[in-house]
Symmetry: C2
Amino acid sequence: MALYVQKFGGTSVGSIERIQAVADKVIKFRQDGHDIVVVVSAMSGETNRLIELAKAIDLDPSARELDVLVSTGEQVTIALLSMALNKKGCAARSYTGGQVKILTDNVHSKARILSIDEDNMRKDLSAGRVVVVAGFQGVDEEGNITTLGRGGSDTSAVALAAALKADECQIYTDVDGVYTTDPRVVDKARRLDCITFEEMLEMASLGSKVLQIRSVEFAGKYNVPLRVLSSFEDGPGTLITLEDNDTMEQPIVSGIAFNRDEAKLTVLGVADVPGVAAQIIGPISDANIEVDMIIQNTARDKSTDFTFTVHRNDYERAKKILEQQTEKLNIREIIGDDTIAKVSIVGVGMRSHAGVASKMFRCLAKEAINVQLISTSEIKISVVINEKYLELAVRALHSAFGLDAMETDK
Amino acid sequence: MALYVQKFGGTSVGSIERIQAVADKVIKFRQDGHDIVVVVSAMSGETNRLIELAKAIDLDPSARELDVLVSTGEQVTIALLSMALNKKGCAARSYTGGQVKILTDNVHSKARILSIDEDNMRKDLSAGRVVVVAGFQGVDEEGNITTLGRGGSDTSAVALAAALKADECQIYTDVDGVYTTDPRVVDKARRLDCITFEEMLEMASLGSKVLQIRSVEFAGKYNVPLRVLSSFEDGPGTLITLEDNDTMEQPIVSGIAFNRDEAKLTVLGVADVPGVAAQIIGPISDANIEVDMIIQNTARDKSTDFTFTVHRNDYERAKKILEQQTEKLNIREIIGDDTIAKVSIVGVGMRSHAGVASKMFRCLAKEAINVQLISTSEIKISVVINEKYLELAVRALHSAFGLDAMETDK
């Protein structure tokens, strides 16, 4: 008998029928003798409906009141799911974030969880009841309702699993697991049985939008086994754990991530003196533009080139900000390109395997794909290429690193 | 400077525009230097929408979960109204019932208020903030969300006014006050400036559906001055107080109430022995049929006739129940009529004025209206007549007791 925290997102509870299906799924686990804490989001569309109401009053509404408003979305779902479970003969009890209580700081709309009181939930679990908790919300020390920000229900689930020392935190989504790459690009993409938190972080931030990054970090920190699986089909999903030790022989590369939404900007002839990087990036981040890759190579002749990538939507704005600095920074020239794509290979296996990078570059060269930028981390190698080669690059790398599904897998 | 508790119902907050209008009204009172606590209902239609969701899952849903569900309706309104006030430059802060906290017993869907913690509200009022409270809801000792039942927002407002010792509890509705009778029946019906709690109770229970009876009882018990006024038009409304002492010369009769939804049942030849009344009414109330008037006259020849009235919808059911008892109770005959109407004259003035009853009967006789039943209380005389004479009777009594509006009032 295990204790599972199961999280169902907005689509999974988007209608009365879906809520009934979630109840059936939960009951199946109960019948197998497991204790269940369910975390739910607002029914799909509801949060947006509430935000529209607020915006009709104030485009920048009071953050405290916005949290009071949108937190009703999850409250509706916990009540309906608890009713459905009770109706089907499975005792259940709902909890708002405040009722649990999930104590957070007082930063409305992006609060951080400080602590979770598990006493009430334990009592219900001991009494054989399913506990249904509103995701995405908490309460600060003064009793004000807070929310964790969009997608925060994943974080709620992981935090509850950590507090309750659950055996597994199961995140039910509309995909059946984490894939080696996007199946829409590579039809031989394969569901992974297992992936490490670190790999998942690199995959998630690179565009595999299965899980909120923050919830993965949280799960890693508290070592909560996290499983991504489908709300709609049965299947084992993908287990995300601390160590990828399920297989004797680890694959070197676990997946290929990519991103087509980037643009690059290069500042040519930057003086090779301390503080220049900060002077370039400072105004960009002051303008609330997020920067992804930052690359600077060894200087030649006391000057160097400085390159960074931003979201394509921010490209023109970032370029203008740089151009305003040319005189101040004594910049020779600014060049940019918004027709690029980033491709990354991710895997804890590459730590101990030399030659992964050269294998990657050889593979791309064989397809005559020019590599514009290179950046690496412990478990990731990213390259920037012309966007028109993206699909080709991903497919070639997927195959080169042995990720293609066998015919029999299909 | 006064402290006002102002309650706005579902229609008054039924759209963003209406909520803006409520904010404007509140701000006008603030500008006059008054402290304001606003109590709001769910936006019109919202509570029904939520109940429909619940019924789609379970026709008889868990009472605890139903309260969790429907309480979100008011929570949405408090957030939106607070946003509107803040946006217009009037500092405001919302409170759910639990946040106040309004402590209730644990009878879900019809909880009774036990106590109200005024500390947080006082702090906000002292800081110059408008306090916006969700009506209709509270929290029990274990932190479960409770609701006071439909229309409970009036009760919330009165209870808050009592706890805060407010100068007045203002109930904003879609009518501009309490009238001498229904203006749809008597076009000379007149708005009352003042009425006592007792009169209001008799008026309300007799069909003037302006206020919830329970909130009037509550206001009377704690002597909270209650004012009914229009959300949509400016005007003084009607003040409901302990003593009708605003005018030197009190009118004898304050209003004419009536009810066309009743039916009467008479049991003929009931033995004049103890316990018979209970034997007749017992099975009726066991069947959850509400009884209004009960009339029994002095016995003749050791038998008497027993008459009571029920809602017209319950007439056939009540009649069948009685018929099942004929043998047991040795009843001679049961007769009934569901084409009746009840007309009542209400007024604290009649306590000290002899001749009110005879004036009433003379007035009806003059119009050739036969009186079928008569029942009286301290401040009310009710008669049952054939329903076809209802409008005639109300108009004649309204005129006879000097309630008609002057031409200049129109």
